[in-house]
């Protein structure tokens, strides 16, 4: 598995898209910092970017990589290698190279800016951890979709639809539910609904760290009370990990049975 991981990883590292992705984050980070001059504001803007773009790129890249390397995968399948290690290796290769572009691309401008002397380092760290998780989650979901769909076009559409659902439609449904049931206590529901969407969960985790929680009123207080404790943080990390582990397990299960 490690060998395949290494191969996928270096294959991607050499590819143009990794560079584009890396340069995009590098440029974004530098522009935000050196034109804005406010670390906290830059982190908020970055949060918007990370919770929207990282999942999108993770999904598209994951699906694309799977379909592109299909012939090579079939060649590998002919070899005496465990199936799961082929797919998991590829998955880890893609997601780790994406995560690396993200972390290095954003890390360089922030480090140059003097992040290590500033109090915002924890917020920034949280931002990167969330970015890492989102990459892992959405690449895994993309691999799942690709495994289930032989048809490229179908696979791509499902992947985009998945992203659209998680990033936009879910929040719309969430909002409508809140409005429809506004006469009921909704704190518990909000907590669960936030927990079950990784994009929402990362957004709330970052928002609460950014001292914006006072704006969030009573519901915010409930959230702050929950996420402010060690238990809350643990539960949310657990929820994010679950989002990584479950699709990966499914990938493992599916790849074993799949007929090529």
């Amino acid at each position: 598995m490690l060998k395949i991981l290494k191969y996928s990883f270096f294959d991607l590292i050499r590819s143009r898209w990794s560079y584009v992705y890396f340069l995009f984050y590098l440029g974004l980070g530098s522009v935000l910092l050196f034109l804005n001059n406010d670390l906290a504001k830059a982190i908020i803007t970055l949060m918007n970017v990370i919770t929207i773009l990282v999942p999108l790129i993770g999904t598209v890249f994951g699906v694309m990589y799977y379909y592109n390397s299909k012939e090579f995968t079939e060649l590998l399948l002919a070899q005496p290698i465990k199936r799961s290690s082929i797919f998991i290796g590829q998955y880890l290769g893609v997601s780790l190279s994406l995560a690396m572009s993200l972390i290095i691309g954003l890390g360089i401008p922030f480090a140059l800016y003097g992040l290590f002397q500033s109090n915002e380092i924890w917020d920034f760290g949280l931002l990167l951890i969330n970015g890492l998780f989102l990459t892992l989650i959405f690449t895994a979901l993309a691999f799942n979709i690709a495994l289930y769909n032989e048809n490229k076009i179908k696979g791509f559409s499902y992947a985009i639809l998945l992203w659209l659902f998680m990033a936009v439609i879910y929040d719309g449904l969430f909002l409508m539910t809140l409005i429809a049931f506004q006469s009921y206590p909704l704190d518990g529901f909000s907590l669960v609904a936030t927990m079950s969407n990784p994009i929402d969960l990362s957004r709330i985790l970052i928002l609460l760290k950014l001292d914006i929680s006072a704006l969030l009123g009573y519901t915010g207080a409930v959230f702050q009370k929950f996420f402010g404790t060690g238990l809350g943080l643990l539960v949310s990390i657990l929820a994010l990990s679950l989002w990584v582990v479950l699709p990966t397990l499914n990938m493992y299960r599916k790849s074993r049975k799949k007929d090529f």
């Binding site: 909002l175 936030t194 914006i212 519901t219 915010g220």
Partner: protein
């Protein structure tokens, strides 16, 4: 009756002579003097005397000043009340207190013990006084035409129910409160039923509840004060014709905090103030005919939150810079005027280069309208879906009042 100039000169000289004669009488208080306590000195003083308190510690409480005296401290002598009750009570006109260090006022649940209380007196002057470990600080009760100048009130309040206010005015008119520093009490400056007051150049910070709090106090002027990091900001209620100019309201950040809370305030002027990093810059309820102009709203959660029944207010020439919400408005009817403001969220253009944007700016986002209806939805803040519906509402307003807009938004901020 004819006025003889000689008579007038004679009378002037006579009064001058008598006042000079009495003013020169100075009574010293110190450990080795004839008088070792403030109480003894006051008892034997006559009207117009000056009592000079030498450096030292004087353990006294319930000191009553019942004749026009000047009490002057040298190098801040300490008057220690030992938590037994009220310390100094002024019950005569023309009293001056200058340069004392008063501490350890007794806390009581039945009476408002103060470090210095002025009762039914005119022309008082309290200056250069330092108050520490207090319950109430300077309490002015039914007293007019006085001045509270350059004092320092440092409390150590922990809970609202057993702490008092720094400077309190009750049924007192024409008082000047100037250059005081008030910290860590319940309400920094508190006014009730007090008209024609000038509050100027004060700094009120870190108070448990409000930096400034007033009710039923008309025609007052608040100028150049700083209110920072108070539990709930500044609350002003049920008052008419007040003027708030050049004040700074800063860092009142918390669940129920605001820069200023206006409730039933009419015909006021709020000009050239700075509202920075408050949860809510101004929270307005039932306030009419107020002119807001030249204010800076910087990085607040809500710059302005209008809770209803607010009519004929004018907002002009303000800067709205990087607030999460510029305006929250919960009614469909708008009778308030927004014009010539600078909004950092404005994305319009100015083709004729006259400095005024060509398309109107709508300060109410759909999301702030939704949050008003269902507060729980605030947790969706900054999600992509919210940005999308905000954008669509901006393009074609459906839910927010149609005429709630700034038709002449400025392209560049006011300096």
């Amino acid at each position: 009756m004819r006025n003889n100039p000689l008579h007038i000169i004679f009378f002037v000289l006579y009064f001058l002579g008598t006042t000079l004669a009495t003013a020169q009488k100075e009574i010293k208080v110190c450990d080795t003097c004839t008088f070792t306590s403030l109480k003894q000195a006051i008892a034997s003083a006559v009207s117009g005397d000056t009592i000079l308190v030498k450096p030292g510690t004087y353990k006294e409480y319930n000191v009553v000043i019942d004749k026009p005296l000047t009490i002057k401290g040298e190098k801040f002598p300490v008057i220690d009340g030992e938590d037994k009750g009220e310390i100094i009570r002024i019950m005569a006109d023309n009293v001056t207190i200058d340069g004392l260090f008063v501490m350890n006022v007794g806390t009581s649940y039945t009476s408002d013990h103060a470090a210095i209380r002025v009762v039914r007196s005119e022309n008082f002057l309290i200056q250069n006084v330092v108050l520490e470990k207090l319950f109430f600080g300077i309490y002015i009760e039914k007293s007019n035409n006085g001045r509270v100048y350059h004092n320092k009130v440092i409390g150590d309040a922990q809970d609202e129910y057993n702490s008092g206010n720094g400077i309190q005015l009750w049924y007192s008119n024409h008082v000047v409160v100037e250059q005081n520093i008030v910290q860590k009490v319940r309400d920094g400056i508190y006014l009730e039923f007090s008209d024609n007051i000038l509050i100027k150049d004060n700094v009120s910070t870190n108070n448990l509840r409000y930096g400034l709090h007033f009710m039923f106090s008309n025609d007052d002027v608040y100028k150049n004060n700083t209110f920072e990091n108070n539990g709930a900001g500044v609350a002003v209620m049920f008052s008419k014709r007040i003027k708030m100019h050049q004040n700074t309201f800063k860092k009142n950040w918390g669940m129920a905090s605001f820069g200023v809370l206006l409730k039933e305030i009419n015909d006021a002027e709020i000009k050239e103030n700075v509202f920075e990093e408050n949860t809510v810059g101004i929270n307005i309820e039932g306030s009419n005919r107020i002119v807001y102009s030249g204010n800076n709203f910087i990085r607040n959660g809500y710059a302005i939150k209008v809770l209803g029944a607010c009519y004929e207010n004018t907002f002009e020439k303000n800067n709205f810079l990087y607030n999460s919400f510029d305006l929250s408005y919960n009614s469909k009817i708008n009778d308030n005027v927004f014009r010539n403001n600078y909004w950092s969220g404005y994305t319009g253009y100015d083709l004729n280069k006259d400095g005024v944007g060509d398309v109107p700016f709508r300060p109410v986002k759909l999301f702030s309208y939704v949050v008003n209806k269902t507060p729980e939805t605030i947790i969706l803040m900054r999600s992509l879906f919210i940005d999308l519906i905000d954008f669509s509402e901006k393009v074609s307003p459906v839910f927010t009042p149609d005429n709630l807009q700034d038709a002449t938004p400025k392209m560049t901020p006011f300096q």
